[in-house]
Symmetry: C2
Subunit: 380 residues, 2 copies
């Protein structure tokens, strides 16, 4: 066990060998969840034209001079079609574009109905009244979205509003995942890894079951093949295929529990390869800490564990072995309090599905006393 890598050294190796992939251009309509390659400037002022800031009537302000309850001024209702005719008013809703010629909005409360073709305005409006000016949110050329931002729905709206039809995003990693389908009845690891790989924005690039002759591995290791290879379990044929041309595992075993029986390396062509343990719960955590870290980096995402976190107080002592980073499942024990649950060794993957979260006890620590403050990663 003495030559197991420390978790932080394994992470540093991964960070040094997995950089964001190249750019691809996708339609903005399909860019949600993707990661921007570079900062995006506004192609136009925002808003690109004057907008109504309230529900009401768009008018020429100068034509409303003198309007009052005692002197209602009659305006013809005009269609919302480009130009505002003299003496006309157009019914608009907040967010609508002002017609050409209009320079003010009269709110609904300052307008009285006359007939189907006209309305009466009872308060004067000054130019610019209740108008959201073109460029008032941001100017053409200003940075709308920072490089490496993962695009959310609001960002998609911004890109479209700012005149972008396409977005330059980091290519999705193609991952070749080979489980040992020959030794187990249901390929539970394969299905779980597929869900993890897709959650992290990558594409499963090859069948998830190992070819008994190792041909899938050789195919995957071709330059045109996968961006990353995940193997589950030790496999002499795969290990042999990996060493062709000088590839191999730089790290074999990490001081992490569960999930430490992990190999981390590269093919001769530089494709990262992760060998994950067979036991389901160990496979799960080895993915989250190592293979997933690399996949997230390749996709331009943060390498960090993809869970929300918060601080909590330890309600019952958490025990851990010095020299090993230990992942401890916890449940809520009261407001802002957590307590350890049956360990992953005792409960297997069930501890992942039943826990509210987990605590990572560093290798230098024997655990946490009752009352200690810890960071809890949230599993729900």
């Amino acid at each position: 066990l003495a030559d197991r890598a420390r978790v932080e050294d394994a992470a540093a190796w991964i960070d040094a060998h997995a950089a964001a992939l190249g750019r691809e251009d996708v339609p903005v309509a399909e860019a949600a969840g993707r990661v921007l390659c570079e900062a995006v400037p506004a192609e136009v002022d925002l808003p690109p034209f004057d907008l109504a800031a309230v529900d009401g009537f768009a008018v020429r302000a100068e034509e409303t001079v003198g309007a009052s309850a005692y002197n209602p001024l009659r305006f013809r209702l005009a269609a919302d079609a480009g130009d505002l005719p003299a003496g006309g008013a157009v019914r608009l809703e907040a967010g609508d574009r002002l017609p050409r010629g209009a320079d003010a909005m009269v709110p609904l409360g300052h307008v009285e109905p006359v007939d189907a073709g006209a309305c009466a305005i009872v308060e004067p409006a000054v130019a610019g009244n209740e108008v959201e000016r073109a460029g008032s949110h941001s100017a053409r050329g200003s940075v709308l979205l920072a490089s490496r931002r993962r695009l959310g729905p609001g960002d998609i709206g911004m890109l479209a509003a700012a005149g972008h039809a396409r977005a330059g995003v980091v290519r999705r990693p193609r991952v070749c995942c080979m489980t040992r389908g020959d030794r187990i009845e249901v390929d539970a690891n394969g299905l779980m890894l597929r869900a993890l790989i897709e959650r992290d924005g990558a594409i499963l690039a090859a069948p998830s079951r190992a070819n008994p002759e190792g041909e899938v591995l050789r195919d995957a290791l071709e330059p045109a093949g996968a961006d990353l290879v995940v193997l589950v379990g030790r496999d002499d044929r795969a290990a042999e295929a990996l060493t062709v041309g000088g590839g191999g595992f730089a790290i074999d075993g990490v001081a992490l529990r569960p999930g430490g029986a992990t190999g981390i390396g590269r093919t001769a062509a530089g494709v990262p390869v992760f060998r994950l343990p067979v036991a389901a719960v160990a496979c799960y955590w080895a993915y989250e800490f190592f293979a997933g870290r690399a996949i997230r980096l390749l996709g331009g995402r943060s390498p960090a564990l993809p869970f929300g976190s918060r601080t909590a107080t330890v309600a019952r002592k958490i025990v851990s072995e010095i020299g090993t980073t230990e992942i401890v499942p916890v449940q809520c024990a009261g407001p802002g309090e957590v307590e350890p649950m049956a360990s992953f060794a005792e409960a297997g993957l069930g501890a992942v599905t039943q826990a509210d979260g987990f605590v990572v006890v560093p290798e230098s620590s024997e655990g946490y006393q009752r009352g200690a403050t810890v960071t809890v990663y949230l599993l729900r």
Copy 2:
């Protein structure tokens, strides 16, 4: 403004009129992210058979009696193929299934190599040594996953390991979204709403642009059509189509800023209909608070705002108008501190993309003084 609904009353109306849709069965391989219709019991004990708990050799424990460094016992290496022959040992890795006949694992450290066909065991093993017993994680029939759980990658692994090939999940809501593509140059609201609707697990069921004749709306309101309708902007034709047979808006205007110019109702057939404002930032928040709430409920998800949250201290006063629930964009101002940014009215959708999070000031509050503790919803 006096007759605007309170945000909590609008939420209560939605909760009373949007229940989880019916069940559909999907392959476990495609169930990630879906919501379980009912609790799932284990079809088998877990693990379903005895597993190796360490890397080493599977043996019959009785055959190792008397083994020591001075009396190494020779075992023939056997293939991992069902039955363990007498006098044989099989090389396994933690998580592998024990062959029939084997009842103990001898760890690698207690084995010495002899030749390609044999090994020597130098410590006796007792039955059950380093074996993960069938059923030790959970028993057949025990509840693996609770009803309404949204399936994560670990859950997919559990379902597969427990013998489930398919899962009964809540059907994905079909949403008909009609924006006013006729009045704006780029359908930014339509693209943004598509990303929001898909984020919340629903399927866009019809073209996102309004049919000028209102036919799309009529189609959507057929019983076989959409589960929910989103309209953007006031549209007399749509309003008219909605009232056919007794449908209509139960709520027209909510005391929320931005996003209050929202209509909430149902068709005669009971399909929820949301009319969202045209201005992009108002459209965004009206979706998150109202239409999205209903879509999340239809899909069996939590109706809550789909953002992580944490408490923070207010570093600069947050001002809000009494009588209106106000959404205030904030940025980090120091460890555990937030401060308000340029408002949504000033910066539009840019305030969504630039903020670190937002604070919801209830209608009964004038805001928060410096030093107050608030809940911040995280936008990053």
